[in-house]
């Protein structure tokens, strides 16, 4: 399992990847963000969560710096003790929410992934 981001012809990176990047550029390579640390841009603790989701659910939007190119991602935080500007690292989790408990078809997507842990 990797935290796969995509780099496009123009050098920009997105997580997740898309068939076309900014300006219609094509993907040229994938980058595993789990090998990088990131900085918390903003965070929230949600107390009203959907079926199959932990409660409370602390989430953060974080920004990675990949060789001078920034890319953002959203993810669960391992703790409720987080602040804007904190450095975090991705930590692998087998199941981020319970597949099939919500409306989305379980086989239509992955349910494992990475949480962010302050470092």
């Amino acid at each position: 399992m990797t935290m796969e981001a995509t780099r496009y012809e123009d050098g920009s990176i997105s997580y997740p990847g898309h068939p076309r990047g900014p300006g219609g550029t094509e993907p040229v390579e994938t980058i595993d963000l789990s090998e990088y640390t990131a900085e918390v841009v903003t965070w929230t603790t949600s107390t009203a969560t959907p079926p199959g989701v932990r409660e409370p659910n602390t989430l953060a939007i974080v920004e990675f710096d990949v060789d001078g190119e920034s890319v953002r991602a959203i993810g669960q935080v391992t703790t409720d003790d987080v602040e804007t500007g904190d450095d975090v690292e991705p930590v692998y989790v087998e199941e981020l929410r319970e597949p099939g408990a919500g409306i989305r078809e379980p086989d239509s997507q992955d349910w494992n992934g990475y949480q962010f842990e302050p470092v």
Binding site: P16, V41, T44, T49, P50, I74, I103, G113
Partner: protein, 392 residues
């Protein structure tokens, strides 16, 4: 059959209605029929004259296992053989319906288009409803358990920290809109709340609390569109769509370069201003999509009513108050107190602007000749902005 018309002919709105919003006993078909019939009656137009019938609805299949609602409504209204179409653009389905109805008239495809929007939600639990709405998200977002309220919490924290805005300013949006809703007999909540109550209500998505969010709502609303020449056959007083446009932003919310700029608001606003020939300073009254209090700030800034990071100051100064403000915002009570039956909300915004321009808003009436409605889908993923004016 539509008759030949001048492409330049303006699109008129000759009827408007909305049902009581709140927890309703009726199901989607009951709600749509109620608003549809009332709208036709308001305009004095027979159902047999309806050529196109559009239904704005996000998720009747997911909420109650009912699909094919446009055709079912045509039958219930006895509007056959009207052409029917469902318009789904999540929370902006209503605004998208306005755009579709405008297109049908402006193109000459229809001479009378009835737009009805509705949603039946309250029979589902809050977690289930939250999940249905969150199904708009990308798989990498969905698996984190993110909800639309969570996006609001993430964005609100960023806005408050970056622009040094006080938490109280968001609370004042809720206080204002609840106060306006007291005078709207169709609003789900017709009750004032004070700032202390808002700021001490339970946390839903930190730093946002219960009163920063709209409720879960059943309801329906409708508007009736025709060419101006046809409108004049029915009435001397009507409203004209001066400008309308829709736009999208990224599906994945965190991919936006600036979390406080909603590109769909900016772009749809630009298009609606350009079509109408008006600008932000010309708008007398606005209905903004306050599904969350922070969205009222982001739309005020995206539509040019305030500079970036400054909308909170205007709210603090009372600029958007109904009775004393320079630009009354959400005179209806907004989604915050009126409620947010997904497919109906954008149309109900239009109903409020229509009533304000027609002088039919009763105790909510403000002095207005030009009004704007901004309807936001997803978390700014797709947006429709409509500008209406009184017929000259």
């Amino acid at each position: 059959m539509p008759r030949t018309q001048q492409a330049s002919e303006r699109v008129a709105i000759v009827g408007a209605s909305m049902t009581q919003f709140g927890q309703r006993e009726g199901w989607i078909m009951d709600l749509l029929a109620e608003a549809g019939l009332e709208c036709l009656e308001d305009a004095g137009v027979d159902a047999e004259n309806v050529e196109h019938l559009y239904v704005s609805n996000m998720a009747s299949g997911e909420f109650e296992g009912m699909t094919g609602v446009p055709n079912a409504l045509a039958h219930d209204l006895d509007a056959m053989p009207a052409y029917t179409q469902r318009v789904d653009q999540t929370s902006s389905s209503g605004g998208a319906g306005i755009y579709a109805a405008w297109q049908s008239i402006a193109s000459g495809a229809s001479d009378m288009t009835l737009l009805v929007g509705g949603e039946k939600m309250s029979h589902r639990s809050t977690p289930e409803t939250t999940d249905i709405i969150a199904s708009v998200t990308h798989p990498v977002e969905y698996k984190t358990g993110v909800t639309l309220p969570s996006f609001a919490g993430l964005t609100a924290r960023h806005y408050l920290e970056r622009f040094d805005a006080p938490r109280e300013s968001l609370g004042k949006v809720a206080v204002k809109n609840h106060k306006n809703g007291v005078d709207n007999p169709n609003a789900q909540f017709q009750k004032e709340v004070d700032l202390e109550t808002v700021l001490e209500s339970p946390i839903v998505a930190d730093p946002l609390r219960l009163y920063d969010f709209c409720p879960i709502t059943d309801g329906s609303a409708a508007l009736l569109f025709c060419p101006e020449s046809v409108a004049e056959e029915y009435t001397d007083e009507y409203v004209v769509v001066a400008g309308v446009d829709g736009a999208t932003d990224t599906h994945v919310v965190h991919e936006r370069e600036d979390p406080t700029i909603m590109g769909g608001v900016v772009e749809s606003g630009k298009g609606a201003y350009k079509m109408s020939g008006y600008g932000p300073d010309d708008i007398d009254v606005a209905e903004l999509h306050d599904m969350f209090t922070i969205l009222e700030f982001l739309q005020m800034e995206g539509l040019g009513f305030a500079d970036q990071g400054e909308a909170w100051k205007l709210v603090e100064e009372g600029y958007t108050k109904r009775d004393t403000g320079e630009l009354p915002v959400n005179t209806s009570g907004g989604l915050k107190s009126k409620g947010h039956p997904l497919g109906a909300s954008g149309i109900a915004q239009g109903v409020e602007i229509y009533e304000q321009l027609m002088g039919e808003a009763g105790p909510r009436q403000v002095d207005a000749d030009i009004g704007l409605a901004c309807n936001v889908g997803g978390f700014g993923n797709c947006v429709i902005t409509t500008i209406m004016e009184t017929a000259q």
